[in-house]
């Protein structure tokens, strides 16, 4: 079963285009894992505030905070990661801080291609392989294009700097990322033209350039059928004008028109979504599991809504 397999990993990488709801899904996935007995750390890379806000917390920092039972959150800082690397792995102790805070380091971290990304991945690797404070880390990456270059960064770094302690570190990270027993990639997408294109493109790039397979694709914000009763849905789909509604139940012309418009809007949107979903399923379902995430028609997005998403994910993964 997909969930059991995923729960045995040490790292889930969540990627997807901007605006597809990556952070919300990373949070929901965190709940799924923590409720299945794992101690989970959700790590953001971009200093976004969205994750913390979903749990009613202040913006996250480099130091993990508790978000829920067995669920923790942090925002990875490349500078702090480097400082820790100096201290904990190179044992440079006191001189670490002035080096990190100096402007010179800015040049240096930018000089070696992808060093900042290597540092962030290095931090994740360190948490998962050396500190063991968490059973599972969920990495909420930046936009998809950037995620590919982030995951490629250790290889790029090795090309530029083949020897030295950071090179051995990069080599360990590359091996780890490419071990499907340890690391899984989950892509977030939307049933729309551009996000679907981007998901297909990202899957290919990950396979070809990073050597990683996508374990699951989460198709977010899908309109469910109007009714759980297929007969009722079919009947509604058959309505051709507001008059058809009035012959069903007497009501004012205005109400009939409004209800009819509402159903048309929904059905059209849903049809369009299904078309894009189909395209994604056709291209990807032979390798990745497809998980449908329902659109949430609610007055706000908070813990309660995350619970609904987590339940939907868990149901489809087991």
């Amino acid at each position: 079963m997909l969930l059991d397999a995923l729960l045995s990993r040490r790292l889930w990488i969540i990627s997807g285009k901007g605006g597809v709801g990556k952070t919300t899904l990373a949070a929901a996935l965190g709940l799924v894992a923590s409720r299945n007995g794992k101690r989970v750390l959700v790590a953001e890379v971009e200093g976004k505030h969205a994750l913390a806000a979903l749990f009613g917390e202040d913006a996250l920092t480099h130091t993990p905070v508790r978000l829920d039972q067995n669920l923790y959150g942090m925002s990875i800082s490349p500078d702090k990661s480097l400082e820790e690397y100096f201290q904990d792995q190179l044992h440079l102790g006191r001189i670490a801080k002035p080096i990190v805070s100096s402007q010179v380091l800015d040049y240096v971290t930018h000089a070696a291609p992808g060093l900042r990304d290597v540092l962030m991945l290095g931090k994740v690797w360190y948490e998962a392989n050396r500190k063991h404070d968490y059973d599972l880390i969920i990495l909420d990456t930046a936009a998809a294009g950037h995620a590919v270059s982030m995951l490629r960064s250790p290889q790029g770094f090795l090309h530029a700097v083949p020897v030295g302690p950071l090179a051995s570190q990069a080599r360990r990270i590359v091996e780890w990322l490419q071990d499907p027993e340890k690391v899984s990639i989950l892509l977030a997408s939307l049933p729309e033209e551009m996000p679907v294109n981007e998901t297909i493109e990202t899957t290919q790039l990950l396979e070809e350039r990073v050597g990683m397979d996508v374990a699951a694709i989460l198709i977010n914000m899908l309109y469910p059928p109007i009714s759980e009763d297929a007969g009722v849905t079919a009947k509604i789909e058959g309505f051709r004008s507001p008059a058809d509604l009035i012959s069903e139940t007497p009501m004012s012309d205005l109400d009939a028109a409004a209800l009819y418009d509402c159903s048309r809007f929904y059905l059209e949107r849903r049809a369009l979504q299904q078309e894009h979903r189909k395209r994604l399923v056709k291209t990807e379902s032979h390798t990745a599991a497809m998980v449908d995430i329902p659109y949430l028609f609610s007055a706000q997005l908070g813990k309660q809504e995350l619970d609904i998403l987590a339940a939907a994910i868990e149901e489809q993964m087991t």
């Binding site: 530029a160 551009m194 205005l254």
Partner: protein
């Protein structure tokens, strides 16, 4: 609600966070301006090639391309002078180096330098910086009445504005040179410097990234010598241009709480910097269905439809909360709302429809 005043600008900069539809809005504004007889270009930086799709063009190069008249006719529009281009950061940077280096040999050495390649390709801020350089180039040539520029998604509005400044001070590399040049310039080997702090420092850094990278950096700065002044001057010129009344900034957002929050903060920051924010566009607002039915549903399909109506009411409520914040903060003639369109914006006809909501 209409942004009609916007069309008198000479430069329009579209900003906002990722996934809100900035590229579409930029293209829609450009289409409207062109249709009103202004020779217009829209520049996008989005690597997803979305603009290319929505303009019905297969591929854009790093140079302006005219939207073919046939595309206009297909959409039932009168052909207009509208160009589009996709900004290629790396190519733009290379061209800049070639045009500004003291001699071609030096330009070649810079472009083949590994440090330069890392900086020009991946350095955060490079996209923004090159967008500004391209803007300056297009403006200086004076071929267009209006330049509409789409920006990369940034968390911080000033990333875009500050990019030239950060890049030029980076390129100036004063601090770095203080450390590196004595070491390399003297030809006495890497660590024959009298400054002991610098020696310890360099050793630590070398331990991490290797001597090769350090010498790449030194070589880069040696070749870049003398080019820096021009870069700095242009950066200031672009900034002056953007602060001019003939420029306009618009912020694109979505009707969701945190995205709206970000957009308002964005707008505030731009304004506090003296940049003319002339519009806030909320994209993809869900329709409102005024359903007042209070009787007995009477049948299962009607019951399901009423439930659907209630779901949309919740959604409207969520969006209203975000929109209320906007209405409080931004005057009416500076905001626009674009409804959730059930057809996708992939051609000029759809862009035309989007524009009709911006310029009522």
């Amino acid at each position: 609600m209409s942004l009609a005043g916007l069309l008198d600008s000479q430069i329009i900069v579209c900003t906002g966070s990722g996934g809100v539809g900035k590229t579409t809005i930029s293209a829609a504004i450009a289409l409207r301006a062109a249709s009103e007889g202004r020779k217009t270009i829209v520049v996008t930086i989005d690597p997803a090639k979305r603009l290319a799709d929505s303009l019905g063009i297969d591929r854009l190069s790093n140079a302006p391309k005219r939207i073919p008249a046939s595309q206009f006719k297909k959409a039932g529009l009168v052909p207009a002078e509208l160009d589009a281009m996709m900004l290629d950061t790396k190519t733009t940077f290379d061209e800049l180096v070639m045009n500004n280096a003291r001699d071609p040999e030096r330009a070649k050495r810079i472009i083949s330098n590994r440090f330069y390649q890392a900086v020009s390709g991946a350095l955060s801020g490079t996209h923004e910086y090159m967008a500004m350089e391209k803007l300056w180039e297009l403006h200086s040539k004076g071929e267009y009445d209006l330049i509409v520029i789409d920006t990369p998604p940034t968390r911080n509005a000033l990333d875009f504005i500050d990019a030239p400044k950060r890049m030029t001070s980076f390129l100036e590399g004063r601090l770095l040179k203080w450390f590196l040049l004595p070491a390399i310039g003297g030809g006495k080997g890497m660590f024959k410097i009298t400054n002991f702090a610098a020696v310890a420092f360099l050793k630590a850094i070398q331990k991490i990234i290797g001597a090769q990278v350090l010498s790449d950096i030194a070589e880069f700065f040696a070749n870049f010598e003398g080019m820096y002044e021009g870069f700095k001057e242009r950066a200031q010129d672009v900034l002056d241009l953007l602060m001019d009344e003939s420029s306009s900034f618009i912020v694109v957002t979505a009707p969701a709480d945190h995205v709206m929050e970000e957009a308002l903060f964005f707008a505030d920051t731009l304004e506090s910097y003296g940049l003319p924010v002339k519009g806030l566009v909320v994209n993809r607002v869900h329709p409102r269905f005024e359903i007042d039915f209070a009787g007995d549903a009477g049948s299962k399909p009607i019951e399901a439809l009423l439930a659907l109506g209630r779901r949309f009411e919740l959604l409207n409520k969520r969006e209203d909360m975000a929109l209320a914040r906007l209405e409080k903060a931004i005057p009416q003639d500076q905001r626009a709302r674009i409804p959730y369109l059930n057809n996708e914006v992939t051609d000029l006809a759809a862009l035309h429809e989007v524009a009709s909501f911006l310029f009522v």
